[in-house]
C-alpha cells in the first residue's frame, strides 16, 4: 500500500513553551488506513494533526501528503486534501444555516455556484442531513452538528479525514451516529481516517493505533495489541471492558473482541 502521509523527524515547540509539544516524530500513514492516535491530554496529538494540515509550522522535520511536500506553496493544495472535524461542534460552525456551512469550503475554493449547489446537496445526503438544509445550527443536536461538519469536509472531496476528538462532547446516541457514518465513509469511499480519541472502544474500529506521550510517538500497534497492554492508564485510557471482564473471570489476557469472548463463554457453558 502506498503512503498517503509521511512524516519525518517532526518537531514543534509552542512559542510560550519550553519543551516541545511534538518531539522528533516519524510516522507513515497508508492510503485508506484508519489510524487512531491516543495519549493523555497534552501529549501532542492535536498538535501533530495541526502540523499535518499546515495550521502550525514545524520547527524541524518534513511532512509529505499524497506525494507532495508540505511547504508554503503547497499548503493550500494540501489543505484541500485533508478535512478536519474538531471537538466542539459549536466552535466550527461558520454558516448561518446548515447549507451555508457546508458550502463554506467550496466558496473558499471559488467553485461555481451551480456546482456548489449540487455538491452541498450531495454532501448533506451522505450524512443524512438533507432535511435540515435550512435550519440554523443552534436548533441542532450535538451529533447533528458534527454530521454537518463532516458534510462540510466531504463537500470538498478530501482524501483524508482527521477526527480531532470529534465525538468526545456528544451524548452516546450522537457518538453512535457519527462513528457509524465515519465507518461507512471509510469502507465505501476509501478515505484515510486519522482519529484522535480517548475512547478505547473507538480504537477498535481502526486498523492501527499510535500512542503519544510527552510529544513522542511511543507505540505503534494494532488495536488487538493495545487492548491487552497493562499500563493503559498512563496513556489516559480505560481498560477495555472485555479485558476487565476476563481479569475478573481469571481468563488468559490474550486479545479477544467482544464477539470472540462471547463465543468462548458459549463453548465453556
Amino acid at each position: 500500500m502506498a503512503n498517503i502521509i509521511s512524516i519525518e523527524n517532526l518537531s514543534y515547540t509552542y512559542p510560550e513553551s519550553e519543551s516541545p509539544a511534538v518531539d522528533n516524530v516519524s510516522l507513515e500513514i497508508n492510503k485508506g488506513e484508519w489510524i487512531s492516535i491516543v495519549g493523555k491530554n497534552g501529549s501532542g496529538k492535536s498538535t501533530l494533526t495541526r502540523l499535518i494540515d499546515g495550521l502550525l509550522e514545524a520547527s524541524s522535520g518534513t511532512i509529505s501528503v499524497a506525494g507532495q511536500k508540505l511547504t508554503e506553496e503547497s499548503l493550500w493544495d494540501i489543505r484541500e486534501k485533508i478535512g478536519i472535524v474538531f471537538q466542539n461542534p459549536d466552535h466550527q460552525f461558520v454558516g448561518a444555516t446548515v447549507e451555508d456551512d457546508v458550502a463554506f469550503g467550496l466558496e473558499n475554493q471559488g467553485i461555481e455556484r451551480d456546482q456548489m449547489v449540487r455538491e452541498v446537496d450531495q454532501a448533506l445526503k451522505l450524512v443524512d442531513m438533507q432535511d435540515f438544509k435550512n435550519r440554523d445550527p443552534q436548533s441542532l443536536s450535538g451529533g447533528q452538528k458534527q454530521r454537518v461538519a463532516i458534510a462540510g469536509v466531504l463537500a470538498v472531496n478530501p482524501e483524508i479525514i482527521i477526527l480531532d476528538e470529534s465525538t468526545s462532547m456528544l451524548d452516546p446516541e450522537g457518538r453512535e451516529t457519527v462513528l457509524s457514518l465515519v465507518k461507512d465513509l471509510w469502507q465505501n469511499k476509501g478515505m484515510t481516517i486519522i482519529s484522535i480519541t480517548h475512547d478505547i472502544q473507538e480504537t477498535a474500529l481502526s486498523q492501527r493505533v499510535v500512542i503519544m506521550k510527552n510529544g513522542h510517538l511511543v507505540e505503534d500497534l494494532t488495536p488487538a495489541q493495545l487492548f491487552v497492554m497493562d499500563d493503559l492508564k498512563q496513556y489516559g485510557l480505560d481498560k477495555p471492558f472485555t479485558t476487565l471482564l476476563k481479569e475478573k473471570l481469571n481468563f488468559d489476557p490474550e486479545y479477544q473482541d467482544e464477539e470472540e469472548l462471547i463465543s468462548k463463554l458459549w463453548k465453556l457453558n
Binding site: W76, Q92, D100, E107, N108, Q109, G110, V156
Partner: protein, 265 residues
Amino acid sequence: MDKLIFGRYLPGDSIIYRLDPRGKFLITFYFIGIVFLANNVASYALLLAFVLFSVYLSKINIGFFIKGLRPMLFLIVFTVLLQMFFTPSTDPLWKFGVLQLSTDGMVIAGYILLRFVVIIFISTLLTLTTTPIEISDSIESILKPLRYVKFPVTQVALSLSIALRFVPLLIDETVKIMDAQRARGVDFGEGGLLKRIKSFVPILIPLFVSSFSIAYDLAIAMESRGYKDGEGRTKYRQLHWKKIDNYTVLVIALLTVCLLLVRSY
C-alpha cells in the same frame, strides 16, 4: 431575554418574507425618510394605511408590533407630552405658567405619536421578516461599490455574518455563566450601583475567555477549510430580485406621489 422582540427574526412565510431583503432594507429606510413629508391628517392616514396593509400582508400577529413599541414607550410618552403642553398657541384651552394645552398642540402631539408608530412598525416588520444573515447579505450587496475604493466589503460582510451567527451562542453562554455564578451566591440585582457593576466581573471575564476560545477555534477551523483572505471566493447565498420586488418599488413610488399630492392639498 424576552424583551428583545424589537430586532428579532420570527420564522414564517408570507409575501413580505419572500421579498428581496435588499429591497426591504432600502425601502424601509426610504419609508422612514418620507414619513417626514406628512403634514396633515390625510397624509398621516395614508402612511398608517400603508403600514397596516404591510403588516396584514406579513401575516404576523399585530401583537408583535405593539410589543415592539414597548422599549420606546418612555421616549414616545415624553415627546408626546412635551408637544402637547409646550406648543405655543394664541388660543390655549388651558394655561398654567409655561404649560398650555391647545387644539394645535394636541394635533401635533397626535402626529408625533403616529410618526413613532409607523416608523417602529415598519422597522419591526423588517427585522421580524428578515433573517440577520439576509440583512448582512443586503449590506454587503449595497456596499459593493465601495470595493472600488479598496474597502474590504466581502471580508467585512463575512465578519458580520459570523458575528451574527455567534450571538445566540454567546447569549446561551452568558446565561450559563450567570447561572453558575448565581449558584455560587452572586446576587445580580442587589446592592448599590458599585456593587452591581462589580457583580458583573464574574460574568464578563468568563465571557471574554470563552469568546476568545471560540474565536481561536473558529479561526483554525476556517483555515483548515481553506479560508485565505476572501479573495477569489465565490458565494453560495444568492439574492434574487424578482418581479414582485419591482411591484413593491412601484407601490412605494406611488405612495410617494400620493403623499406629495395630499401634502399640498
